[in-house]
């Protein structure tokens, strides 16, 4: 791993891994060499729970274009659902709109 671009985010939710569903507490977002995707660099996301060991991980390795599409899709879905949870979602969407 040579770019060493690593970001982390606290998570609260669930992910389905090789051993079934688990509570994910953390996401690691990396832009570096992927393990599986045939790319020099990829946007890699790991949803993990370090307390549950190595296998508690759901991983994706995406092209830059795919990662940007994913961001857009997440923002659109959250925006469409903001009336369901306005107290949580609205500030985030407004913050994005300000950028």
């Amino acid at each position: 791993m040579c770019s060493w671009i690593v970001e982390k985010a606290k998570m609260s939710g669930s992910a389905k891994g090789i051993n079934g569903w688990f509570e994910t507490t953390e996401a690691t977002v990396v832009y570096d060499h992927p393990y599986h995707a045939q790319l020099d660099h990829a946007l890699c996301i790991d949803f993990i729970n370090p307390e549950q060991g190595l296998g508690a991980r759901v991983a994706v390795e995406l092209t830059v274009e795919s990662a940007l599409e994913l961001i857009k899709a997440i923002e659109m879905a959250l925006d469409r659902g903001k009336h369901l949870h306005p107290e949580v979602i609205t500030p985030r969407v407004e913050m994005l709109a300000l950028k």
Binding site: M1, C2, E26, Q38, D40, L54, A59
Partner: protein
């Protein structure tokens, strides 16, 4: 060329006296053979790195490839282990140095060793090659293949990797061969130039080769960045370097 080679999984002593898993490939026969410690790339202790160890055996070197992620997870779960390594900020430098020195001492202790050792590393292992060669006198020659973060701004240093290898140049104890792709950005051509300038100023023995049309990891035949022409030429530089300093 040595077509009869022998390969085994072994363990040798590493940092803190821990037993480290390693891949050991050497020519069959009594030798004596010089040795090479191979530091794997960030994608881990994988098939390609084992092929590299066998390539050294084919060329008459006893090669040891220590599993540098030994303490993070088993090689059977390599992808999960890599994720843990990168989430944790990388393998601590002190651990890497200890494990590489342990691999060197294992090779030197073999009855068919000439006692001369080389070091080579790829990607993160390239950085570790410069690091290790600057912290021990076990090696007679070193080869850095596109190691990123040899040049590292202060705000990218971590408790596990607290000092940029370029800042250890005064202590570099082995002639250094560097192989780089000009399309690479980690290390970038500017960082390679910066490293070369520091080596030159310190009066170190080094040789840097830069290849147009090649990016990061251009030796790796199982990855899209493989570039046959530059890779073949650069392997020739590696053999010449080790012929000069190890034989």
């Amino acid at each position: 060329m040595y077509r009869n080679i022998v390969c085994d999984e072994i363990s040798h002593r590493g940092y803190n006296g821990d037993d480290i898993l390693a891949y050991y490939a050497r020519p069959a026969g009594n030798g004596p053979f010089p040795g090479v410690v191979v530091l794997h790339h960030m994608p881990g202790w994988d098939e390609w790195c084992c092929e590299v160890a066998r390539k050294f055996a084919h060329h008459g070197y006893a090669a040891v490839l220590p599993y540098l992620f030994h303490r993070f997870g088993p090689p059977e779960q390599m992808d999960d282990t890599i994720a843990k390594v990168r989430a944790g900020g990388g393998v601590p430098d002190a651990m890497t140095i200890g494990d590489a020195v342990g691999a060197a001492q294992f090779l030197k202790a073999q009855p068919n060793s000439t006692g001369k050792l080389g070091l080579i590393g790829f990607c993160s292992g390239g950085r570790q090659t410069v690091l290790v060669a600057s912290n021990t006198k076990e090696f007679s020659a070193a080869v850095d293949c596109w190691g990123g973060r040899v040049v590292a701004p202060a705000d990218t240093l971590t408790p596990a990797q607290p000092k940029a290898p370029i800042d250890m140049t005064a202590d570099l104890a082995a002639p250094l061969l560097g192989i780089f792709g000009n399309d690479d950005q980690a290390p970038s051509p500017e960082q390679v130039n910066q490293h070369e300038a520091v080596l030159k100023q310190a009066g170190k023995t080094y040789e840097f080769h830069r290849y147009d049309g090649a990016g990061h990891g251009f030796f790796a035949t199982d990855r899209p960045g493989y570039r046959q022409g530059p890779a073949t030429d650069a392997w020739g530089k590696v053999w010449a370097w080790y012929d000069k300093y190890l034989k």
